[in-house]
């Protein structure tokens, strides 16, 4: 089996699973309980938070545990909206965001908020200039993803941050879900980013885990209220085993980040070059994109068909975002990149993890060649 669908989700790492199991057995106390079992859990939770913070170069009070990327994005956007309602009603985002962002925006529009959806160029990139032009006095939030989940475009986050330095009261939210372990993202005192959202299952941690970085001093209304966990910002009994397992996978992802990125980049270049040689293949991913995503299509063959043809040979890929592929929404990032609908429908996404090898990529190409020959024959 070749698993090339790591942007949809990753397989949990054996060491994270081991941590999950051990912590479930040994640290079952509720971190809020007064007794020693509770305190034990509470200290492990603290240590997990500290480890994640240190790997990101931020402080532990700036890390909040969530259930994943969707919750993080919802919180950043709606939390800002609730918090900043008295100061303005305008939000800026891009037209290639993940549905967790896009749908949140659309929901706010129903409540009277105004949202500017910035266009992207043919590489799927937003321009910092466009952000500058779109800012108004009543703008309270700019939300731009770090790495696009469908084609792997890398957004100019630092440049946008520079633009926003002139507007210090505007919240700058970055959906970093696809960037983790692949594309470096500078957070902390010297960065303009106010909120960054992370999802555990994209880096071999258990499902249902995630965390959000909220810069010290930035205020965000909580969406989930209750027992006052996470400094009253996100209530609900903490999922200590999953959080500890996430802290472990995060360390294993972040420590060798450069080697991992180089390794994936090598595989990606090989795939991109091999695919480009095929006359009827269009590669949608930009040359300078994230090291783990290759998005392409075979002329006149719907992506879905290619996915199933490859699956037949034990190779797992996606039609762009797994979140939208079942509901047959055409690849919206591609549409935003001005790819005609007809062509966008052919999109297939290969997404890598550091576990993948060049040999797998070669095997993939052998299989792909057969599939390709077959399709060109009937065409």
């Amino acid at each position: 089996m070749i698993y090339f669908d790591n942007s949809a989700t990753t397989k949990i790492s054996p060491s994270a699973l081991e941590t999950y199991q051990k912590v479930s057995e040994q640290f079952f106390g509720n971190p809020s309980s007064l007794h020693q079992l509770g305190e034990h859990s509470s200290r492990l939770l603290h240590q997990s938070r500290l480890q994640i913070a240190q790997l990101l170069g931020v402080t532990d009070e700036e890390i909040y545990f969530t259930s994943g990327g969707t919750e993080g994005d919802n919180w950043a956007i709606k939390g800002t909206a609730l918090e900043k309602k008295p100061y303005g009603n305008h939000i800026i985002t891009s037209s290639v965001e993940h549905p967790a962002v896009r749908e949140s925006m659309e929901q706010l529009e129903q409540f009277g908020w105004e949202v500017t959806y910035l266009p992207v160029n043919e590489k799927g990139e937003v321009s910092a200039d466009d952000v500058k032009k779109a800012v108004r006095p009543e703008t309270v939030l700019v939300s731009i993803m770090a790495v696009n989940n469908e084609v792997g475009s890398i957004q100019p986050i630092e440049e946008i941050g520079e633009v926003l330095r002139e507007y210090p009261s505007v919240h700058f939210h970055v959906d970093a879900v696809q960037a983790v372990g692949k594309v470096p993202l500078k957070l902390g005192k010297d960065s303009r980013i106010d909120m960054a959202v992370f999802s555990g299952h994209k880096f071999h941690a258990p499902r249902g885990t995630g965390f959000m970085y909220i810069k010290r001093g930035r205020r965000l209304a909580p969406l989930i209220t209750g027992g006052g966990q996470e400094s009253s910002q996100r209530s609900g009994t903490e999922n200590v085993p999953a959080i500890a397992a996430m802290a472990k996978s995060f360390r294993m992802t972040m420590e060798p980040i450069q080697t991992n990125a180089n390794k994936m980049m090598e595989i990606r270049s090989y795939l991109m070059n091999s695919l480009k040689e095929k006359k009827k293949v269009t590669v949608f991913s930009p040359e300078k994109g994230a090291p783990h995503i290759v998005c392409f299509g075979i002329k006149d063959i719907r992506g879905e068909v290619v996915v199933h043809a490859l699956e037949d040979k034990g190779i797992y890929v996606s039609t762009t975002s797994a979140c939208s592929s079942r509901s047959q929404v055409e690849a919206s990032s591609l549409i935003a990149m001005n790819v005609p609908k007809q062509v966008a429908q052919t999109a297939v996404r290969v997404s890598l993890s550091p576990d993948n090898t060049l040999e797998e990529a070669e095997e993939f190409m052998t299989v792909f060649n057969n599939v390709y020959e077959q399709f060109t024959y009937i065409n």
Binding site: T19, V23, Q36, E39, H40, R43, Q47, A244, A247, K248
Partner: protein, 405 residues
């Protein structure tokens, strides 16, 4: 470059006449104890120096262990190289580079025990000096009070070099002054008192009173962790846990509020004294400081102290709180001490304890209590654990966390 040996200079020890041999022996034992987990290390105590042969063990880690050990004035890590001038020069350059900061001066100070060696003392000084000066062009050579002195000894078996003189903790080796029982509550003062007693050579055993369920397991753990911090100075510490619940309940029930605290302390002292007798200690050490709280007025101290003739050592008795805190921070007990767990001194604490209690009244109220029976039952329930240097619940937990995360 690896250190091969650490040379230890005794301080005050040299003035102790006939006892010197005993002091050196004790210090050697303490060092061996502290370096137990470096099995290759050899400790040889001579009249004027003590040599720790590393035999490949981690010099830097051992230096850290030696820093807090009482009875050491200064010590120097030593590098041994083969008997050739080239090797000596190379080592000297590396040693100086390690310490050098812009503007510093140095000199080479050679002793030649092996007179067969091809160069004499002056030649060695010159050749090694120029090697260092060439390698670090901005360094100055200075004979009088240079910043860095490279000591070179040419012996039969090789050439020994050292540059650093590291300040030791001073004091007397722990254990040379006999044994005392430390009343360790968990507050700021008692660990400091224990540390100061250790500094003067006392071996201490920690006596801790706890009253479950009024006091929490965390409070007990905190006291153990504090003992672990003090064990750094002696290798291990015996931690003696005394059950105190029944006594406190009886006092609460039978003694008028104003005298509760006084009688509480009298019972604690009686118990500590009994434990001292059993364990052959000579004195009791506590963290009392005049006038700090109600139990520490002179009248209170007198009324409490009346239960025993055993020497009471109160190392912090005349210190200000700020001075005590300063030491607590230095010995890394402050953070632990201020954790907010109730100890047995604060539970049932009367709102208005007597600050001028009378011995006669205390004795009169004690008649309502079965003092002997209470003492005996508490003694029957004591638990003794050996706590090793640096062994805190925190360090064990950190290890577990590191394996999980």
């Amino acid at each position: 470059m690896q250190y091969t040996e650490i040379m230890v200079r005794y301080g005050e020890l040299s003035t102790k006449g006939k006892n010197k041999k005993y002091f050196i022996k004790k210090l050697s034992t303490n060092i061996r104890q502290a370096l137990k987990d470096f099995p290759e290390v050899q400790v040889v105590g001579n009249r004027d120096r003590l040599h720790i042969k590393l035999n490949g063990e981690d010099g830097e880690a051992i230096i850290e262990r030696l820093r807090p050990m009482f009875g050491i004035q200064t010590f120097s890590p030593v590098v041994k190289v083969e008997k050739s001038l080239e090797a000596a020069c190379e080592a000297a350059v590396e040693l100086v580079k390690k310490q050098y900061k812009e503007g510093m001066s140095f000199k080479i100070n050679t002793r030649r025990a092996d007179h067969e060696f091809e160069f004499d003392t002056n030649e060695i000084n010159q050749k090694m000096g120029s090697a260092v000066a060439l390698a670090i062009p901005s360094i100055r050579i200075q004979m009088k009070q240079p910043d860095i002195v490279v000591r070179v000894e040419v012996r039969q078996r090789g050439i020994y070099l050292s540059t650093e003189t590291i300040q030791g903790a001073g004091g007397l080796p722990v254990g040379t002054g006999g044994k005392g029982m430390l009343m360790l509550s968990g507050g700021i003062d008692s660990p400091v008192a224990g540390y100061l007693a250790q500094k003067r050579g006392l071996e201490i055993e920690a006596v801790h009173f706890h009253s479950p369920p009024y006091t929490s397991p965390q409070a007990l753990q905190k006291a153990k962790d504090l003992a672990g911090k003090l064990a750094v100075y002696s290798g291990t510490i015996q931690f003696i846990e005394v059950p105190f619940t029944e006594i406190q309940e009886e006092i609460k029930k039978h003694v008028p509020q104003g005298y509760g605290m006084t009688i509480n302390r009298r019972m604690m002292l009686r118990l500590t004294d009994e434990i001292r007798k059993q364990r052959e200690g000579l004195a009791i050490v506590n963290g009392e400081s005049i006038g700090q709280v109600a139990s520490q007025t002179l009248e209170s101290m007198a009324a409490i102290n009346a239960v025993t003739n055993t020497p009471m050592i109160r190392p912090v008795v005349s210190m200000d709180k700020t001075e005590i805190i300063e030491i607590a921070e230095k010995i890394d007990t402050f953070e632990l001490s201020v954790q907010p767990y109730e100890d047995c001194c604060t539970i049932f604490a009367p709102p208005k304890p007597k600050t001028r209690p009378q011995v006669s009244k205390a004795e009169q109220y004690e008649e309502h209590l079965d003092v002997e029976g209470l003492i005996q039952r508490a003694l029957d329930g004591i638990k003794v654990t050996a706590i090793h240097a640096g062994e805190t619940s925190e360090s064990k937990e950190q290890e577990l966390f590191a394996s999980l995360l």
